[in-house]
Subunit: 343 residues, 2 copies
């Protein structure tokens, strides 16, 4: 059963290549790993691995380099996520704890992640869709207009201004608004955004005919704000790390930078990972649907306050990456930022 040994050799190749960034040859492998066999045997096994498309030789007389498929196998079967040390964990926690508001949490998290992985951190702002409603506020404005303010438990605020048929800045208008506000919040508060949108649909019918148009306008604006995800932002940190890793990219880091600027695309990438809770997703090289990222790997997971894994976060780096460590870092950071957000 030399199958087993071949996989060990693959693992060794990946580890060495990640460590040295140079193609690894049979001899060098023997020096660093005490496999109980000779160089010739290793060479034979390497030939098989190459046949299977797991490794590849840049040119005739050079060592081997893992292919995307090789990394994939390594990640799936040959490595375990390497847990962080206690010291690292407390450092993460302390760094995140002194954040003063949501923006600061996101900013700090992204910087932290990039600095401990030495790669580009990508972090989605907590998304509306999975959050819940904290409060809805109605603000009458001059000129027969009404501002609808939606406050989400993630701390985000959305607002819409609607035109209404009458001026609400007077006494009577205030009472009407107060009534609407109360019922609105009774229906929507603490609901998930999607649920709130559904729950509000029947609200107009609970009011007297005279007020229905008004309520309908308010609910319409609110549903717009509830459903639309346009405030979904993504922040980057550590793009300078790409330069350091520049030699790992076949052509140049230009296309990578370009791809990273397409925030919409990044969002899709972050969102489209499978929903396995607490799992860290890895996209390796060509597995990435974006051409600019074909020479990169993306390690990502989800995070969010409480049980709702509201948004995605991860890193982008060269395929030649220390996957176990990176995966551990991403998972740990996601865990801690979730904990911070939960309060």
């Amino acid at each position: 059963m030399s199958d087993e040994r071949r996989l060990q050799i693959l693992r060794a190749i990946v580890q060495d290549y990640v460590a040295t960034s140079e193609p690894v040859g049979s001899k060098a492998l023997l020096e660093r790993h005490r496999l109980g066999v000779s160089a010739a045997t290793v060479r034979n096994d390497m030939a098989v691995l190459e046949e299977q498309g797991l490794i590849h030789a840049p040119h005739t007389s050079a060592g081997r380099v893992p292919t995307d498929a090789g990394y994939r196998l390594f990640v799936d079967r040959l490595s375990a996520i390497k847990p962080l040390s206690r010291a690292e964990k407390t450092a993460i926690q302390q760094f995140l704890e002194c954040a003063v508001d949501l923006d600061d949490v996101v900013d700090r998290t992204a910087r932290l992640l990039s600095s401990i992985t030495h790669q580009v951190a990508v972090m989605q702002y907590p998304s509306l869709t999975r959050s819940s409603v904290r409060h809805v506020e109605l603000v009458p404005m001059p000129g027969q207009r009404l501002m609808v303010v939606l406050i989400v438990n993630s701390g985000r605020v959305e607002q819409r201004v609607v035109e209404v048929e009458r001026d609400l800045t007077d006494e009577a208008g205030g009472e009407t608004l107060s009534l609407i506000r109360t019922r609105l919040n009774a229906q929507a508060a603490d609901q998930r955004l999607v649920d709130a949108a559904a729950a509000l649909r029947s609200l107009p019918t609970q009011f007297e005919p005279a007020d229905r148009a008004l309520v309908r306008a308010v609910v319409g604006a609110l549903q717009d704000a509830l459903v639309e995800e346009r405030e979904e932002r993504v922040v980057l940190a550590g793009t300078a790390n790409l330069v350091r890793a520049g030699t790992d990219f076949p052509t140049s880091i230009g296309p990578v930078l370009e791809a990273l600027e397409e925030h919409v695309v990044l969002l899709r990438l972050l969102s489209s990972v499978e929903v396995d809770d607490a799992a860290v997703a890895v996209r390796i090289g060509q597995e990435n649907p974006v051409a600019g990222l074909h020479a990169t790997s993306m390690v990502s997971t989800r995070y969010g306050a409480g049980n709702d894994l509201v948004a995605g976060l991860g890193v982008v780096g060269p395929t030649r990456m220390d996957y176990p460590t990176t995966m551990a870092a991403v998972r740990a950071v996601a865990t801690y930022v979730s904990r911070i957000l939960a309060e």
Copy 2:
């Protein structure tokens, strides 16, 4: 008066160097510009220019390259901002016109600026400090807490939660809040943020002693929101352009990317340009206070809805940059985005 001719030679050197990115020698200069003198004369003048610190030879037998001081002189006295063509102007206008909201305006503007200048665009979000208050809203929350919401005319919303001494969710609390809200808005609405902060200082004294602590807490939170500029964000676009211009940077683009990630620093750079309306500010090389940007130039100006030039916008690129064209582009984009925002 050969002083004049020397400046023309400097101008020619800058233009050629910008165009070819290669040190320009006396002979090459004669081919591209019909100066009425011989190569030897040009050489003599170049020697003088070098003595004055305006140009510099990378090594003994190479052409000359402008120094920061040379560019400075060129920008100040030897060039005129090159107006854009009509076609370019309408293209800018059309591209910006189809933006759907504030975020979209900012996003499109930054991308546009980077794509027409082929450099990194830097754009500050409309700043709070110069905007004015549209409305202040008070929202009672369970647990003796009160949410203070500040709505700014730029469309931005700031919120603070304050602890208060009594529960305000009941009838009496609602009336008190209503009173505070009315006076608050009477004082602050339509004021510039700084003015509003000042105007509110005396508000607590206008209330009965029983309510003063409450009002003071509200005003405190509000002033915090008014004064603090922390929501000031900056967006970048076209960082990939740095790669293309990579050869212009002595070491690598790494430090530049790092500097660009320090949004706080960028904001300070954008804000600290002199307030000459409609002027385009240029910071060349070492003039930049940030070490990472010592090999770059920053061309920036201010923009904003109406007469208030609320925020800054500009580009960062190598010192070897086509200043007249870049300055024109920055100015034009600022003008058009201001126009869009004015509606």
